[in-house]
Subunit: 68 residues, 2 copies
Amino acid sequence: MDIKVAYGDKVKAIRKKQNVSQEKLAELADLDRTYISDIENGKRNVSIETVFKIANALDKPMVSFFEF
Amino acid sequence: MDIKVAYGDKVKAIRKKQNVSQEKLAELADLDRTYISDIENGKRNVSIETVFKIANALDKPMVSFFEF
DNA sequence: ATGTAGACTCTAGTCGACA
DNA sequence: ATGTCGACTAGAGTCTACA
């Protein structure tokens, strides 16, 4: 169980369900586009402030990203 | 709403309920004792791998730390 | 629109010491 | 047993460029 991969999968799933591009998500969350790409591919160990930003950008509570 | 403070408060509350010292938690989670202190005081922006380690050390699911 | 690579800055996380 | 300080190394997060 790799938490980075699990989290990245969640972000991708929720983003796709809302038909948002990585580029748009990056803009909404005020993060770099290439960083969103890395996150979704399980390559980055993001901080809780980043998790918080992405959760707000996708209008979801933080817990949504940690229900496995 | 500061996510660092909210998370730190959760860690402290759950740890105290289990009668575990910061020192013991640090040992269980394989983290530095002074870092646990900083986290509980809302001073550090921890990564999800660290959240994961602390959750496991306290035998709680990750979501427990993000229910506000 | 996405993945990756490289170079960069700032901070996460460690550690020793003292209150 | 906890808080804080200072110095350190590893890695978070940015940005440009190319496929």
